[in-house]
């Protein structure tokens, strides 16, 4: 099936010479929830703004919903929640939805019904006739999300949707995302918070300093970080035990952790681990537990950031408005 978003070699150099994107390739399949993960200043918002025609790419090849990036008419089928958005304070919640719905080309008759339905969805019906100026950050975020759904979009692009939202709100938003997925929409989500993505995303990409360093399902990404952790009961000479295990399995990279008394073995095959158990038991150690484990998204993220190091100073200098 044709990808919802398929872009290659996207580059953006801002005036002022910030090289914000350095050749980004992404492919997002229809119906998936895709998470773009990266530290502040990585270029996530820049990429999203290019897709939404808010800024012009320096270089960009690819399509969104089958149309070239930059085509205005495609946007009628896309919903977008910008980062740090500011709705006019003089509008009421329902008016915001009506206005942005109209801007997306939704006929008047549908707008009223849809607005009521969406306010219900984001649990803001009680606030429909209150001015946005009186809303809290979390409420604005909810209304913003509703606004992005007014045109019944095939693709929903959300830039830091849980920014400033309390834990209950975060859970609500996650549920809404899952519901959107059930309805067959594609969601492109953008965040610097890891836990959110892990819970809802089918696939993620990690972006650091303007480049996507890894891309795939969370399983795929963490595949080669599978390992076993053997914890010993009152170990005697843990370091030596670790060395012996490495020798027995003839592998490198066995690590020991004194505080917990554990030995980490970078292998995913349970059959091979038996040798380690034998060796430890032969050495008179008592095994308390054996756990299969893999790196969390967070570990992966940290290592991706660390790998990029400080090789490209300037790319992450904060810009006006700043990141929160």
């Amino acid at each position: 099936m044709e990808s919802t978003i398929d872009i290659q070699g996207v580059e953006k150099i801002y005036r002022g010479k910030t090289h914000a994107l350095r050749g980004v390739d992404l492919r997002i399949a229809p119906g998936e929830v895709f998470g773009l993960l990266g530290p502040n200043g990585a270029g996530k918002s820049t990429l999203v703004k290019i897709l939404m025609t808010v800024i012009r790419p320096t270089k960009c090849a690819g399509t969104m919903l089958g149309q070239p990036i930059g085509s205005k008419s495609t946007l009628a089928r896309v919903g977008y929640l910008p980062e740090h958005h500011k709705f006019p304070g003089y509008l009421k919640g329902a008016q915001v939805l009506d206005f942005f719905g109209a801007m997306s080309g939704v006929p008047r008759a549908q707008r009223k019904r849809k607005a009521a339905e969406l306010l219900e969805l984001v649990d803001m019906s009680a606030w429909a006739n209150t001015r946005i100026g009186k809303y809290s950050k979390g409420m604005r975020q909810r209304v913003g999300l509703a606004q992005a759904l007014m045109n019944n979009p095939q693709l929903v692009v959300l830039d830091e949707p849980t920014d400033g939202v309390d834990p209950v709100g975060r859970r609500d938003i996650r549920n809404i995302l899952l519901r959107l997925k059930d309805e067959g929409r594609t969601v492109f989500l953008n965040s610097h918070l890891l836990s959110e993505l892990e819970m809802v995303c089918d696939r993620v990409a990690i972006m650091v300093k303007g480049k996507v360093t890894r891309q795939g399902t969370i399983d795929e990404l963490t595949e080669d970080t599978r390992r076993y952790i053997i914890t010993l009961h009152q170990p005697s000479d843990l370091a030596e035990s670790g060395r012996l295990v490495g020798q027995a399995l003839s592998i490198e990279g066995v690590q020991t952790e004194d505080t917990t008394g554990s030995i980490t073995i970078p292998l995913s095959d349970p059959a091979k681990i038996q040798g380690a158990i034998d060796r430890l038991r032969a050495g008179g150690q008592t095994i308390r537990s054996i756990q299969p484990s893999r790196a969390s998204l967070e570990d992966l993220f940290m290592s991706a950031v660390a790998a990029e190091g400080d090789a490209t100073p300037g790319a992450s200098k904060p810009h006006k408005g700043g990141e929160r």
Partner: protein, 373 residues
């Protein structure tokens, strides 16, 4: 497109409605109209202001010839020029100065740029929506004055209604400047101050050009006046086929001197008239619109109005060494000149002004469409 247009207009109305200044200006228009047209009345023998003793003046009496002139002058000089043309216009600029900077501020502009509407269209609609403020203010203010004048004095100045589109057009001239500065700087203060500064410069240019033209026309009118007198007297003498009498000879020679002096003076001013007119070609001519309304409402020029209350040629006003006729002639020449100055080629004036407006808008749109937000 219509859907987007109406959504943006409604949004703008909500914006205006939420602004305190909008209501202030509206109230002030009503107060100005009530004060200027509701505080006096015409009696069989003159005019009565509030509770003060009536002013005896047959010209301003109920059926006096000056009554309509009086009202139309007050309307033009005070209500239109002073209040709507300056006061309300500045307040309108203040009220709408933030419209575009707010719209293109971070966090706000992304919301509409990401909609399936082209940027030039977004910008133009936003610009037009900024005109709603004055359009509403003028419709209500002028409409109110028109009705008060009609009802109280039974004087229906249909020409006054022209002020609604024409002063809106004046605002278009100014708002185009504001919009361009707004797009370039994204700052409300900069666009407001910049616009007022440029408006001041424009007004100066027009003032200089106007004054020069008035001087020229006054000299030309004087020359013409004297020539007419010479021609008339000579014709009379020729008809009676006689020699001019000594006092006629003296008159003829004095008129000729005056005529030649005035003509010479007019000729020397003429190049300046040309130059200032040429400079004026490159500014939006805000003043022309008001001149046009004045002539359409048959407003008197300043000295015609003053003439309602005083006789310039009477001894009271005339310096000792000037005779009555000279004084009357001078006054007449000025009236003719002022009326001439007020006659503007409105089509040409609007066309050249709009060309400048289009250029400003084009630059603004160009910047807006190319900018990264």
């Amino acid at each position: 497109m219509i859907r987007v247009f109406s959504a943006m207009m409604i949004d703008s109305l909500r914006y205006l409605r939420s602004r305190f200044l909008f209501w202030i200006v509206l109230a002030m228009s009503a107060i100005a109209a009530a004060a200027l047209f509701g505080t006096y009345s015409f009696t069989p023998t003159g005019m009565k202001i509030l509770w003060f003793d009536p002013i005896e003046n047959p010209m301003l009496a109920e059926d006096g010839v000056g009554r309509e002139i009086f009202v139309s002058y007050i309307f033009n000089a005070y209500f239109l020029k002073f209040w709507l043309g300056w006061g309300a216009m500045i307040l309108a600029l203040i009220s709408t100065a933030s419209l575009i900077p707010d719209y293109i501020s971070d966090g706000s502009v992304e919301l509409t740029l990401s909609k399936p509407v082209r940027r030039p269209v977004l910008f133009l609609f936003k610009f037009i929506s900024g005109l709603l403020f004055v359009l509403l203010q003028l419709s209500i203010g002028v409409g109110f004055a028109y009705i008060i004048i009609g009802i109280r004095f039974d004087q229906w100045m249909h020409g006054a209604l022209l002020a609604i589109p024409l002063l809106t057009l004046q605002f278009v001239y100014l708002y185009a400047i504001s919009a361009l500065i707004a797009v370039l700087t994204r700052s409300t203060i900069a666009s407001l101050l910049g616009t007022i500064l440029i408006w001041f410069v424009i007004s100066m240019v027009q003032f200089v050009s106007n004054t020069t033209l008035l001087q020229y026309e006054m000299q030309a009118a004087t020359a013409q006046q004297n020539q007419a007198k010479i021609v008339e007297l000579e014709a009379q003498i020729a008809e009676e086929s006689r020699d001019p009498k000594p006092f006629e000879r003296a008159n003829l020679s004095s008129w000729t001197t005056t005529m030649e002096a005035a003509q010479k003076s007019a000729d020397s001013i003429y190049p300046w008239v040309k130059t200032t007119a040429r400079i004026e070609l490159f500014v939006p001519k805000t003043g022309d619109l008001q001149k046009f309304i004045s002539s359409k409402t048959k407003a008197p020029v300043t000295n015609e109005f003053a003439g309602l209350f005083m006789d310039f040629s009477s001894e009271e006003f005339r310096p000792a060494n000037v005779d009555e006729e000279t004084m009357r002639d001078a006054n007449e020449a000025e009236t003719i000149a002022r009326k001439k100055v007020r006659k503007v080629g409105i089509v040409e004036s609007i066309t050249t002004s709009m060309l400048i407006v289009c250029l400003l808008l084009f630059l603004a749109i160009w910047r807006f469409t190319r900018r990264d937000y």
